[in-house]
Symmetry: C2
Subunit: 150 residues, 2 copies
């Protein structure tokens, strides 16, 4: 490695009724509530073009996650085999980046109201990208056995 | 914001025949070559459970991107309206995180050979996650008008 690290400067923050990781569903489609994404003023013009109904990929920094965990039982189930974190969606991982699929419900200046967001209140936002089916979707993929229990 | 920044410690690096951004396709499905993901030794056990045929989301740090760009013409086309970077997949953005959908072709110790990877040689790897349809896929989404030209 020629670089020892890069600094993420959050572009905003999640405002949600979810106060703790224990209260949060594991994924957005598992009953996650609405949330506000509050962007910082310096990056607000980066939102131009986002409108109600858009599907976005929100990238967060899961600031409450553990960065020293390399293997987990997927979804906390001891019945699932101990698995490398890069083969799971565990929040605990060396760089705890979260990926969230959300729909835009409202655009209010530098704030976006979205559904469904499983990240907790105060989670830093790293990036926002449009969901584009040709890029992000693929049919007929093989999935790990433990995913059937999702 | 209560935090001014977070440090990403790369978990590995991309080894690819693509030497420069000019040589790289815009997305993996647009003719991107195979590449190797070389993980660092300290995180190698995080790969346990990844096997040939798996679909992964690789998260990179696009170290050659510009972080001071907030609006672009999507896909470099002046015919497309000037658009906020958060409404596009431009590599230029405040936190230049790249998302890449790849298939695993070979697992060799702490290295993975994957197809198709549009990131250039030397790109730092931030995270690896399994692609899970229930989480990452959604049907019938609305997409920006300029996406039709993808």
């Amino acid at each position: 490695m020629t670089e020892s690290g890069y600094t993420i400067a959050p572009i905003g923050i999640i405002r949600s009724e979810l106060a703790s990781p224990e209260a949060a569903p594991r994924q957005g489609y598992e009953g996650a509530p609405e949330a506000w994404l509050e962007l910082t003023a310096p990056v607000a013009q980066g939102l131009v073009g986002i409108t109600v109904g858009d599907e976005l990929i929100v990238i967060t920094w899961l600031h409450r996650a553990r960065r020293d965990v390399l293997q987990v039982h997927p979804r906390g189930s001891l019945e699932a085999p101990l698995t490398g974190v890069f083969a799971t969606r565990s929040p605990d991982r060396p760089n705890p980046v979260g990926l969230h699929r959300v729909s835009v419900l409202e655009v209010a200046g530098q704030r976006l109201r979205v559904a469904s967001m499983e990240a907790i209140d105060g989670t830093p936002v790293v990036d926002i990208k449009p969901f584009i089916p040709a890029v992000d979707r693929r049919e007929g993929v093989r999935v790990p056995e433990w995913v059937d229990r999702l």
